[in-house]
């Protein structure tokens, strides 16, 4: 990379090559149309081209790539879930992430920090033990630790949380990491583009043409595209896309907010989560504390942010780290989260032939980007979902076979 930078500095050709070609007008038809140019959609396009040789693919993005929830999350990657099917799935994702910078030839700042889920009550400790056992059984490195180990890993933490909620222990998850989220979208976009996928930004999907229970095409702001396979990978917009094909889902949209502080010298090595205090925090490679909290309490289709959120979050941050009282919050934002009743995603085929869903990513989507791209690409290419995502199928609701993952949500939503 430094050599390339040097060559770039000495070159007279400016600007350098773009990450991907700026296509303007879509062709009349594609083998596959992917709605949503976030990490998930672009990863699916990349794996369709790379692993299944399907390169006649269009990715349609209403705004700019990575501008939705891919660029709005708090960048945490972990696999310490509660159900065996969840742990296996997210573990497969972590394994791809670990080598992804190499594969995409782009530094994703993937940084393995270790992840502590703090327990302030006996019932929380019981859930931590449960999760640790499930994780170990599936081969994921998670175990329960006591207050001394937490204090050693993060000496700045007030173990009594201002006397309000003393920390009894934690679930420690060694592979817990952070990564540069927009880089993930850009890396997959470039990889897909090089293999022949066409990416269209500022291209909104206005309708989906279904004839006789089969997908026939997509109406867009840039004209009609004929296709037999459509993947919806639109965090926060899934109900609107599903309405176009006349399908109800269990998804309800709630905003999820986050914020960052001004940059500081590095002091927080680990990722800390407190379910009781509704906080998750890590320090970015720029030195900012990246913080998130619970969902907004009711349905809103908007990315507005609120003062209530910052007030609530920062008061809990001060319980944990009283010395931060002079540190300023410099940015806050929100994303729209596709919430499902069982806190698991909805992936795979639907009752409409050729219409595939990669949805219901609530507050857990970024960490799943590589594996969801991979498994959705396989689902589309073979018209059959791999076993790894069987538990996440849409028909699980009709079968009353939900995947109870709520206990592993980072904070009590």
């Amino acid at each position: 990379m430094p050599l390339r930078l040097l060559k770039y500095a000495l070159s007279k050709n400016y600007p350098g090559t773009r990450f991907f070609k700026a296509h303007e007008t879509p062709k009349k038809s594609y083998d596959v149309v992917i709605i949503g140019g976030g990490g998930h959609g672009l990863a699916a396009a990349y794996y369709l081209a790379k692993e299944h040789g399907i390169t006649n693919v269009a990715v349609l993005e209403k705004g700019y790539i990575g501008g939705g929830n891919t660029g709005r999350n708090t960048t945490i990657v972990r696999s310490n879930y509660l159900t065996p099917e969840g742990v296996k799935f997210y573990d497969a994702s972590v394994k791809i992430y670990e080598d992804l910078s190499e594969e995409l030839d782009l530094n994703l700042f993937y940084s393995t920090r270790g992840h502590f889920t703090l327990a302030h009550t006996e019932s929380a400790m019981r859930t931590m033990r449960w999760r640790a056992e499930v994780n170990k059984h599936v081969g994921v490195e998670s175990y329960v630790v006591g207050p001394e180990e937490i204090s050693k890993a993060c000496p700045q933490l007030d173990m009594s949380c201002s006397g309000q909620a003393p920390i009894l222990g934690a679930l420690y998850h060694a592979p817990g990491s952070v990564a540069r989220h927009d880089g993930v979208a850009w890396g997959y976009a470039r990889g897909a583009d090089r293999l022949g996928v066409e990416i269209f930004q500022n291209t909104e999907v206005l309708g989906i043409d279904v004839q006789g229970g089969k997908v026939a095409g997509v109406k867009t702001s840039k004209g009609y595209i004929a296709t037999t396979k459509v993947l919806s990978a639109v965090a926060g917009f899934t109900p609107r896309i599903c309405e176009m094909v006349g399908m109800d889902t269990p998804i309800v949209i709630h905003p999820l907010q986050a914020c960052v502080t001004e940059p500081m010298k590095p002091w927080l090595d680990t990722i800390l989560v407190s379910g009781s205090l509704h906080v998750y925090v890590s320090q970015s490679s720029r030195g900012e504390l990246v913080m998130g909290s619970s969902l907004d309490p009711y349905e809103v289709h908007s990315t507005r942010s609120t003062l209530d959120f910052v007030e609530g979050l920062t008061s809990h941050m001060l319980d944990m780290f009283p010395f931060l009282s002079n540190i300023k919050v410099v940015r806050q934002w929100a994303g729209m989260a596709d919430m499902t009743p069982d806190f698991a995603p909805i992936m795979g085929k639907t009752p409409i032939e050729g219409f595939y869903l990669d949805a219901g990513w609530g507050t857990w989507g970024f960490k799943a980007t590589p594996i969801s791209g991979k498994t959705m690409a396989e689902t589309i290419a073979r018209d059959h979902a791999p076993d790894l995502i069987h538990s996440f199928r849409l028909s699980r609701f009709e079968d009353y076979e939900l995947t109870g993952e709520k206990g592993a949500a980072s904070v009590g939503h």
Partner: protein
């Protein structure tokens, strides 16, 4: 501070209220399993003007609010069965 009007107690801070989800009419008890599963799990998730259950926690009042879920504007609130009597 965001406010919401309880039909019994008047305009109160939003923090006193709990969201109870979309107002829906259950299907007949002898419906098919498919219809019942649809009622239990599926929601009209797309944005728009919807009727929703809200709960005023201090007084224990359940009521219905008609709200635009895109703009978060409440159009009106009323007690169930008293829609026309405001």
């Amino acid at each position: 501070m965001k406010l919401l009007t309880c039909p019994v107690n008047g305009t109160r801070p939003l923090s006193e209220f709990v969201f109870g989800g979309e107002y829906r009419v259950p299907p007949a008890a002898d419906c098919s399993d498919k219809v019942w599963a649809d009622y239990v799990h599926n929601r009209h998730g797309a944005p728009g003007i919807k009727q929703e259950w809200w709960y005023h926690a201090p007084s224990g009042t359940w009521f219905i609010a008609e709200r635009n879920t895109l703009t978060d504007q409440v159009i009106r609130t009323f007690l169930k069965g008293q829609e026309g009597k405001q």
